[in-house]
Amino acid sequence: MDEPRFDPGGFWEFHLSGGAVRTRNGRRVVALPEDVAATLLRLALAQGDETLLARIGAALGEEAAATLEGDPGARSPETVLGHVKSVVALFGLGRLALEQWGHVLVATLDGAPPLPPDALAALLGGLFAALGGRDARCVATREGRFVVVHAEAAAAVRSWAAEGAEPGVIATRLGPASEAAS
């Protein structure tokens, strides 16, 4: 199966006559100064609304999925990561990377806008949900990593992370759903 390669050229379409900027897939975007966008997102997070951040992440995931030409879940992890990190970078949200701690998938985002870790965690949760991980959430750890977990395990993992647990420790406290239920 041939893995599609991401082409950053022509990702942005600038319609100068209409005063609009669209992605290759036709999604219209608005370019905002970084400090203004960060302030707006902080205000939304302060009101307990993570939906807005999750929708931003979902939009990134959908753009990446469109470039993958099919189900992202059927692609190799390297291919999906290459497309996703390219879309995230084109939106100016930083450099995305994935790590694997045991069975736990962990994301890192270097060079992100000045947003609280919980805001970035909500954004990445929406991203993985759009890539096929239904009910996916991300929990920020103290060292700046984001643990990808199911929504049912998010509360427990968030409490561990608040205690200072690192991804390795969190991975040891998680197990398959069948084992955990027994």
Binding site: D71, P72, G73, A74, R75, S76, P77, T79, V80, L81, Q100, G102, H103, V104, L105, F128, L131, G132, G133, R134, D135, A136, V148, V149, H150, E152, A153, A156, V157, G168, V169, A171, T172, R173, L174, G175, P176, A177, E179, A180, A181
Partner: protein, 176 residues
């Protein structure tokens, strides 16, 4: 006889020779025969002059009679130096009797050094320091913790080949 007397005797002899009759010149050509007879020479008055001997500067030395021996150069009194004949190639530098140099003469001379036996210490002679020895004891190594053991048990499992499989495995985890 002094010089003046000799001059006077010489003049007298010349005058006597002039007074003798000359032979006829009949055998000469006519032109020559017609030549006039030589004029009679008047005798030159005798002039006597006294010539005093010129004193040589070497005749006297500071008023003293010079020695009869010839003068010598100041160095004449030095003993003669024997001079050996100069060979034809005397301008060249004398050649030294040099033995032929071996081709490897520029290298350091090899010393007759016998190789010293170099033996590595036997393992029995090496003793580890006490702290290191303690750490090497099997009893000193603590058994792996339960989380690490669980992680180790998880590693040998095959990794999902797709992103979907990787994501599903992650989302299937729950708190133990």
């Amino acid at each position: 006889m002094t010089a003046t007397a000799r001059l006077e005797a010489l003049l007298a002899r010349v005058q006597a020779n002039r007074a003798k009759p000359r032979p006829q010149r009949d055998a000469l050509p006519a032109a020559t025969a017609a030549a006039p007879a030589p004029a009679h020479l008047e005798p030159i008055p005798s002039t006597s002059f006294d010539v005093s001997p010129i004193a040589s500067p070497h005749d006297t030395l500071h008023g003293m009679p010079a020695p009869a021996a010839p003068l010598h150069a100041p160095h004449a009194s030095a003993p003669p130096i024997p001079v050996e004949p100069v060979p034809a190639d005397a301008h060249e530098e004398p050649r030294l009797a040099v033995e032929p140099v071996p081709a490897d003469a520029h290298e350091e001379p090899l010393l007759a050094v016998e190789p010293t036996p170099f033996e590595l210490p036997t393992p029995a002679s090496v003793e580890a320091p006490a702290p290191v020895a303690a750490r090497l004891q099997p009893e000193a190594i603590s058994p792996p913790s339960e989380p690490i053991a669980r992680l180790t048990a998880l590693l040998p499992e095959p990794e999902p080949a797709t992103f979907g499989g990787l994501l599903r495995r992650t989302l299937a985890l729950r708190p133990r």
